[in-house]
């Protein structure tokens, strides 16, 4: 048996449902005017400082969504890049957005164009500033590293999914003396960013970025919902740890917590093998 549908273990589906409800309820609560708090993330506070430095030096800003294929991570990365572009547009600082995914490239062109329009500077938009380099990992890495070197970028923003190429970007940026801010959901790349970048945004802080930058009620409410979901996970871990210590790892109750077929096994056990 494999886990392909909710029916393979209804417990997991119920948990997904509860998390969804927690997120949605808190979004509506925030929309209704509830005051919600989000802690300081110093890496995000440094974005404006990095843009200011690029403007002073007259050198471009690079934005790299990594190897992110089009999906939630890409949308989040582009949301952050759109915010950065709006700030850049105020000072007419040149920018380059470099992608490895053609679908992200197509959406990024629209997003960056919109950012210049919303900032009231549509004249500054250059279609060549958003570039698809290659969908091959290391061809993309060499393209990005070459551009960072040639154009001596002053600020480098890396947000998205990264693999082995992360250190090539970060170290090249370090060589040219760029201020670097990175945020990624790929936690194996976090150590590389930590040693080579000025600020690193780790794990789900990446998803908190848009809420932090925009302070939109929808996003802040969603953050509270996510915290409730984390509490549910913690509770499941605690209950699972105690139960597996007391009942053994093969007990139907443990299978209920995550194994495909666990729901049926649990109820068979409860109903006495019926």
């Amino acid at each position: 048996m494999s886990y392909q549908h909710a029916a393979d273990n209804w417990f997991s589906a119920i948990i997904i449902g509860i998390i969804t409800m927690a997120v949605l309820l808190n979004i509506f609560r925030a929309k209704a005017g509830a005051q919600l708090y989000i802690r300081r993330i110093s890496g995000l506070d440094a974005i404006d400082e990095a843009i200011g430095r690029s403007t002073e030096m007259g050198r471009p800003v690079t934005m790299i969504p990594g190897l992110t294929a089009f999906g939630v991570v890409a949308v989040q990365a582009l949301t952050i890049f759109k915010y950065i572009t709006k700030q850049i547009a105020k000072f007419a600082t040149p920018m380059r957005l470099l992608t490895a995914d053609a679908a992200v490239y197509a959406v990024a062109q629209e997003a960056i164009h919109d950012a210049y329009n919303e900032a009231g500077r549509p004249d500054l938009y250059d279609p060549d500033s958003v570039r698809f380099l290659s969908d091959r990992q290391f061809a993309f890495a060499s393209g990005v590293a070459g551009l960072i070197q040639r154009e001596r970028v002053a600020a480098n923003f890396m947000f998205g999914e990264f693999y082995a190429e992360s250190l090539i970007f970060a170290e090249t940026g370090n060589i040219v003396g760029a201020i670097q801010i990175a945020g990624t959901t790929s936690f194996t790349q976090v150590p590389f960013f930590v040693v080579a970048c000025d600020y690193t945004i780790i794990g789900d802080e990446f998803y908190a970025t848009s809420a932090y930058l925009s302070r939109e009620p929808v996003l802040l409410g969603s953050m509270v919902g996510q915290d409730i979901a984390k509490f549910i996970f913690l509770l499941t871990i605690a209950v699972g740890t105690v139960a597996s210590t007391m009942l053994g790892a093969d007990h139907p109750f443990i299978k209920l917590l995550g194994m495909p077929g666990g729901w049926d096994a649990f109820w068979r056990h409860v109903l006495g093998g019926k």
Binding site: M1, S2, Q4, R136, Q137, F138, Y163, A164, T188, Q189
Partner: protein
Amino acid sequence: MENRTFWQQMLLIDRRILYMILFANMIIFLLVPVKVKTVTSPPVRKFYDTIEQLHPGDMVMVSSNWGAGTIGESLPQFEAVIRHLMRKKLRFTILSFEPQARDISLRFATRFTKEGGYKYGEQWAHFGFMPSPAVAIKGMVKDLPATIKQDVKGIPISQLPVMRGVQTLADYKVVIDVTPSGTVSAWISYRPQNLKVLFCPTSVMAAEAYTFLDSGQVAGMLTGAIGAQEYEQLLGIEGLGTSFAKAISFSHALIILFVILGNIALFMSRRAQGG
């Protein structure tokens, strides 16, 4: 120009000098015939034992998703795995989720199987490339021939002798994912529960797999070329992993030496500045 002490110069050392030293170190230890027997790490031992427990004729799926970039780490793993499968007389099929990975795995598998006396179509086959891991695995769980349809040579897979008795992925015993990308999570999520997952990541990615090893969702792991070297040692062969592992080992030592020197330089410079 102000006069700098040796330690101050050490702190400001040009990174190109570091690169030169590392390059020389790698070349030397790739060429020097040093032989060291190492203790097998638990993930490699579990990997080996999982294959050893299989019976001749059992089916193994090799999910090969590496390309030219990671050839230094993935090829030693791939070679050791294929040689072990042939030694145990297991039937195996290869599937890639990337077009370049298909070409490169077909090329090397053809070479290794020729040396091992395996016949294409009878003891092994290559399923070519499928674009989406989740869709492909979900499909294979229900009906493998209908999902894959034909092999890399265009032969319908139901006509291949190697596929006798195989209808779904549940008829396989083990899947081995040789990959520098995130394909293993799709195997873990959608595989049939009886199918054990063995994982061959690059060194950079290995840290994230310890959660799956801990939970038993991954039954064993070879970490990069170092893992391949330990595996070759268990198999009693000297492949690419053994020679690469020497260079990697002494490069680690070199990095640590320079980290220590850097810290001494920092300490001495601070002392010279009186603080």
